[in-house]
């Protein structure tokens, strides 16, 4: 599904990703943990195609060269990023936004545009999945949403667009305990044999719910350790210093 080889990214000549390798197969859930500023969000944005980075290396996504694609083409190909800091769009309702987005994505996946009725049905169903109150659907995208509401809205959008690979950048940060469980359950329901998740998090709580197949540690722009979910438990307990010491 996703194969990253020797990925480098820098901003204004400042290197952030420094030779990162990662491979994700269909159906897998991967977690990435790592200290603040280690490059986790940068990785997610480089994968999603945000402008402003100097990028070297190779990223293949379902056989395509991902780095050759514009951000919207990556979305059409099935990549979704739940933003660590979701953006507000004044005057554009969630409903309108999702209708435009879903119809774009569908048309590039060879599916017909949805009738209004079918669209609303899907939207209500997906909103139910993450228990997003319907009143949020008519509000402008993320505008005035609380931190946790924005995160829940990201997962709602993910459910709507049905991606092959979803990257969740600290979706759990800012969620209360119930919301965390609801969002995690939502993600679990969306899991299939042919889609994958890359979950960036600082906390074990989300991983308790999600049960990742593989856990990576990203430090200073590189994956420095890969293991199973006991690695996450170990980090939760001991922090990153022992790993730093080991690596040094």
């Amino acid at each position: 599904m996703l194969e990253i080889i020797d990925l480098h990214a820098s901003v204004d000549d400042k290197p952030i990703l420094k030779g990162l390798n990662l491979q994700i197969r269909p159906g897998e859930v991967h977690a990435i943990m790592g200290p603040n500023g280690s490059g986790k969000s940068t990785l997610s944005h480089v994968l999603a195609g945000r402008p402003g980075y100097d990028v070297r290396g190779s990223v293949r996504f379902n056989g395509q060269d991902l780095l050759d694609l514009a951000p919207e083409e990556r979305a059409w190909a099935g990549l979704f990023l739940a933003f660590q800091y979701p953006v507000e769009i004044p005057g554009v309702s969630n409903t309108n936004f999702m209708r435009s987005a879903l119809n774009q994505v569908r048309s590039h996946r060879g599916l017909p545009a949805l009738e209004a009725g079918d669209f609303l049905k899907i939207m209500r169903e997906k909103a139910g999945l993450v228990q997003l109150d319907p009143s949020f659907l008519s509000r402008p995208v993320n505008l005035g949403f609380s931190g946790g509401e924005k995160k829940r809205n990201e997962i709602f959008q993910m459910a709507m667009l049905d991606p092959q690979l979803a990257i969740l950048d600290e979706t759990d940060s800012g969620l209360d305990i119930d919301a965390l469980r609801i969002v995690a359950e939502g993600v679990r329901k969306l899991r299939r044999e042919d889609n994958s998740f890359l979950v960036i998090t600082h906390y074990q709580r989300l991983l308790d719910h999600l049960r990742p197949d593989i856990v990576h540690v990203l430090m200073d722009g590189k994956i420095v350790r890969t293991g199973n979910d006991t690695l996450a438990l170990e980090l939760e307990e001991k922090g990153y210093d022992w790993l730093k010491a080991e690596l040094a």
């Binding site: 901003v11 204004d12 480089v46 999603a48 195609g49 945000r50 402008p51 402003g52 980075y53 100097d54 990028v55 070297r56 290396g57 190779s58 990223v59 780095l67 050759d68 694609l69 514009a70 951000p71 919207e72 990556r74 979305a75 059409w76 979704f80 990023l81 933003f83 979701p86 953006v87 769009i89 004044p90 005057g91 554009v92 309108n96 936004f97 435009s100 987005a101 879903l102 774009q104 994505v105 590039h108 402008p140 959008q157 667009l161």
Partner: protein
């Protein structure tokens, strides 16, 4: 950012790609540019008293109206060309304009079937829903092709309620007293240069009268179109709402592509009596000229409403996407106590367009309220200026005004300017003003793209969201058209 192993693209290039996209849509071809081929009946170019007499005679006008035109003309001769607006206006040769053009086939018509097929197909090309859908939708259309009203529908139904909705010429013939009572009372011919010119040479326009206590049962709509090469267009509209009356009026226009600039100097006068309400909405999409600024309409319009009665209300809503130069300040004189004036505006200046628009709210009566919401969008080399005046006279105790002026810039070759003026002569006035200037942030665009929206669709979405507060004020079917218009202006050649 697209990665490239051998030749990483520097960040600055990425920005300029964005610029290119933004500039491209700003320069996309005008979707409605074409010329229809109808025989015209044109007065020779030039302006003098003979021409004015010719127009008046041709329209079989009473002598008081000819006298009024001539007084306006003489006054106009004494006036200097205005220069105060934030516009670069090439000198206009007023002797090089023909002041009257009527389609020859435009005899009186009883139904749409009698319409010249050429005119009809012009309307079809424009997508003007002159036909059944529109009638079914309950919109009465007084379509003005150049200077003469061609078709008027739904008149009888309106007549049942005592509503008069007809061409200005017809109103002069059939309701001379009403016209005489109100003509020039809100916008006197001495008001400004272009109002004086219009008063001297106006060809036609619309007249609406809503009698006491009547709510007009449908949106009244007029589509204007400039269609004769080198003819100026001088529309005159007068709307009077008597006590406790209500009317919503829609004006929309597109014009064919031209190489020479065309002058358009309309006057619109609104009069609202006690407790009456007039809503006036405009979608303006005249040919803006090409990317170099060649061609396009000069749009110098005087629009003013008089809240004459107690608790009367006048509301202007405008979506201005066209014209090479726009100079337009729909205003409200709040004379009646407790009267309300509103101005909601979206103005888009792309390519080499110049828009100078805004409003004046003149508070005279007690407890009067005004509200101004202006959304400017500048792209390409477009220059957008908001110019607003809120004037509170000594008599206007407890006046309130709220003004909000937002500017959106796309690319770095365009400009936005805000000139709010306040003249407050009554100490208890409450005046609030907010202004913002923003760019479409790269992260907002990126977020939309990440969800699968191509750049131009993302921009259209963002801009429509930005203008939503104004678009929401438009009647439903007009709002749809206006959104499409913004989207068309935003889409085009990109992708």
């Amino acid at each position: 950012m697209r990665g490239d192993l051998t030749n990483p693209v520097p960040e600055v290039n990425e920005h300029s790609q964005e610029e290119v996209l933004l500039n491209q849509w700003a320069e996309q071809d005008y979707a409605f540019g074409f010329v229809s081929d109808i025989e015209q009946d044109i007065v020779p170019k030039g302006l003098n008293e003979e021409v004015i007499r010719w127009i008046s005679a041709r329209k079989e006008e009473p002598s008081w109206l000819l006298d009024w035109r001539l007084k306006a003309y003489r006054h106009w001769l004494s006036m200097p060309t205005p220069e105060w607006a934030h516009l670069e206006i090439p000198a206009i040769d007023f002797q090089d304009i023909s002041y009257y053009a009527a389609p020859k086939a435009a005899a009186k018509l009883n139904s749409l079937d009698e319409l010249d097929p050429e005119i009809k197909s012009t309307y079809d090309k424009l997508g003007i829903p002159l036909e059944e859908q529109l009638i079914l939708a309950g919109v009465a259309v007084d379509a003005v092709l150049d200077s003469v009203s061609v078709v008027t529908t739904y008149k009888e139904k309106l007549a049942e309620k005592g509503i008069i909705f007809c061409s200005f010429s017809e109103a002069v013939r059939e309701h001379p007293d009403l016209v005489r009572k109100h003509l020039g009372k809100v916008v006197p011919y001495t008001d400004n240069y272009y109002a004086a010119l219009n008063s001297a040479v106006f060809s036609d326009g619309s007249f609406v009268y809503i009698p006491q206590g009547v709510r007009c049962p449908m949106e009244l709509s007029t589509y204007f179109r400039i269609n004769a090469a080198g003819t100026g267009q001088f529309e005159r509209t007068l709307i009077v709402a008597d006590d406790d009356a209500y009317v919503s009026y829609l004006e929309g226009c597109t014009a064919p592509k031209r190489d020479e600039n065309q002058l358009h100097a309309a006057v619109v006068e609104l009069v609202a009596m006690n407790r009456s309400e007039i809503r006036y909405a405009t979608v303006q999409n005249w040919y803006p000229g090409d990317a170099q600024g060649i061609g396009g309409i000069y749009n110098f319009v005087t629009k003013r409403g008089l809240c004459q009665g107690l608790a009367s209300k006048i509301s202007w809503t405008q979506v201005e996407t066209g014209s090479a130069i726009t100079w337009k300040y729909p205003s409200v004189v709040l004379m009646g106590d407790r009267s309300t004036g509103e101005f909601y505006s979206v103005a888009l200046a792309a390519r080499a367009q110049q828009a100078d628009t805004g409003t004046k709210m003149i508070h005279i009566g007690k407890n009067t309220t005004s509200r101004i919401v202006s959304k400017g969008i500048s792209a390409g080399r477009g220059q957008n200026a908001y110019r607003g005046l809120v004037k509170v006279r000594e008599t206007a105790t407890n006046a309130r005004n709220y003004s909000q002026c937002d500017s959106l810039l796309m690319g770095d070759r365009c400009g936005a300017h805000t000139y709010p003026y306040f003249e407050i002569n009554c100490p208890d006035a409450q005046v609030e003003h907010e202004a913002t200037t923003s760019k479409i942030e790269e992260d907002l665009l990126y977020y939309c793209q990440q969800r699968g929206l191509p750049t131009e669709e993302a921009i259209a979405l963002i801009v429509n969201g930005y203008a939503k507060e104004v678009l929401d004020k438009l009647p439903m079917e007009f709002a749809v058209e206006a959104r499409k218009l913004l989207a068309i202006s935003l889409e085009g050649s990109v992708g």
